[in-house]
Amino acid sequence: MKVYFKNIYLAISSILIGMSITFRHMFQKKVTIQYPEQKLQLPERERNRLFVNMDDCIGCDQCAKACPVSCIDIETIKAVPGDIVGKTGTTSQGKKKALFVPKFTIDFAKCCYCQLCVFPCPTECIYMTDVFEFSTFTRSDLLYEFTDMTPEMAVEKKKKIEEYAIELAKKKETAAAAAKKPVEKKPEETQKPATDIEKET
């Protein structure tokens, strides 16, 4: 009998306690963040969509090699001596650019946001931005192209380097008697105009 009345007392008191708690919560401040209008401050080192600053990219392909899921695709064309790559031919830190980059795509459908591509970059041109809302309706829309070169430009530059190679081969034929190694000769030639540009600028 004692247990019986104790049960009733316990039931009623616990219900009243619960109800008072829920009633108090009705007038408390709402904690919801109305997402598209209000946004949380992102953490300092958040990892979101990548961005490539093509002005600084030297086409070294190190980010593509570091990528564990191979989502970065880079194509490069060698610059002919005397040709200016990009606007100035150098990066913002004064590093010389010797390669045209007609294709620099990152497939964000594949990207795992590991940030491994950011560290090897010698010019710090690939980095994480704070953009995280880029959902699309088709997967192909997630393939981002970063290069500023048009396909026509790429064709032109390709032609140039091919012509230059033929020219070089002709020179080689004429200098065949000298029997010098063409491989050693080449870097000397590509370096020379670069130094000239540096002096000019």
């Binding site: 708690i21 904690v31 109305q34």
Partner: protein, 351 residues
């Protein structure tokens, strides 16, 4: 109201057709907005803002948007379901609930039908919705639906007993079963409400504790009859998915939902009528402005909505009972206590 309409139209038939129209409109509007209220109250209790897109911050258009969405939905018939019974079940449930509204006294001038056996009729007619639940669960050809409907039947049938016993106290005190008579007897202010002993001499004070307990029992057991938490074993989303509603979609689902929310107000109306003075103003005739027939609507609906709020409040506070706990509560606690109350009130009346 009856006489007034009879004077205007001069025909019994037209009067009888017009009388239920405001009732039906009230039930539909109430059911729609009770869903919003439920969502809002639950949101506030969880420190959320709740629906706040359709119709500004209050979400006032949310029910309309929901209704349009649900109306567009396909009515799905499960394979190997009993077609006729399956289509019928939601309507049986809703009809049972709606018929219960016929005797709810909204005001001294408006009640669907002032039956002299009103309360008895209510308990009888709301049991029809149990049949609808059983039909729905059985014809869905789904074991979870069947479990839900079996639980529903077991629960509602057992909780009829404490409901009836608790109501019996007032029936004995008032000596009537007519809902309008209950309200009329409680005239003259808050001290004359049946929860405070009804009209009578000083000796009624000894009745107060029994009647308060009876009111609580009536509220708890009608809560169980309306299948609300903590007695929502019928739906029990975490155990049997959604019980009877499981296979239903679109309008059929809406009928079940409407029935549930309408039932919430109906049982609140019963509690209010029996214990809290029905449409009587708590100030009695001391302030006559507050006791005009139109103010009585406001009093009755206000009191009813308060109990609906308490039901919602309880839902978002308490966890669900287990089946054995449910039966234990009914047979070991509510019925004996209700019997003690009936005995006490009977003794008081005899002496």
């Amino acid at each position: 109201m009856d006489k007034f309409l009879l004077d205007i139209f001069g025909s019994e038939l037209i009067k009888d057709l017009i009388i239920p129209v405001p009732l039906f409109a009230f039930v539909i509007v109430f059911a729609l907005y009770a869903v919003l209220a439920e969502r809002k109250v639950s949101a506030f209790m969880q420190n959320r803002p709740g629906p706040n897109r359709a119709g500004g911050r209050t979400g006032i258009l949310q029910p309309i948007v929901d209704a349009i969405k649900l109306l567009q939905k396909e009515m799905v018939l499960p394979e190997r379901a009993d077609k006729w019974l399956y289509w019928m079940a939601p309507f049986v449930v809703f009809t049972g609930t709606l018929l219960g509204f016929a005797i709810i006294p909204f005001s001294s001038i408006y009640v669907g039908v002032d039956l002299n056996i009103g309360l008895f009729y209510f308990f009888a007619i709301t049991s029809i919705s149990v049949v609808g639940m059983l039909i729905g669960g059985w014809s869905s050809n789904n074991k979870y639906s069947l479990y839900g409907s079996m639980r529903s039947v077991a629960q509602i049938v057992s909780y009829e007993i404490p409901t009836a016993l608790a109501a019996l106290n007032i029936v004995m005190l008032a000596g009537t079963l007519s809902m309008q008579k209950f309200c009329e007897l409680q005239a003259g202010g808050i001290q004359n409400w049946f929860i405070f002993g009804g009209p009578g001499g000083l000796s009624k004070v000894i009745l107060i504790p029994f009647l308060v307990i009876a009111a609580l029992i009536l509220f708890i057991s009608t809560l169980a009859e309306a299948n609300r938490t903590p007695f929502d074993l019928v739906e029990a989303d975490s155990e049997i998915v959604a019980g009877v509603h499981l296979e239903y979609a679109g309008m059929q689902m809406v009928m079940f939902l409407f029935a549930e929310y309408a039932q919430m107000f109906a049982v609140s109306g019963i509690v209010v009528t029996l214990f809290l003075g029905g449409w009587q103003s708590p100030f009695g005739n001391a302030i006559p402005v507050l006791n005009t027939p139109w103010m009585q609507f406001a009093w009755f609906i206000g009191k009813g909505l308060f109990f609906v709020f308490v039901q919602i409040w309880l839902r978002w506070t308490l966890p669900r009972l287990r089946v054995d706990q449910l039966m234990q509560l009914c047979w070991k606690y509510l019925i004996p206590i209700a019997l003690v109350c009936v005995f006490a009130v009977g003794l008081y009346l005899v002496l």
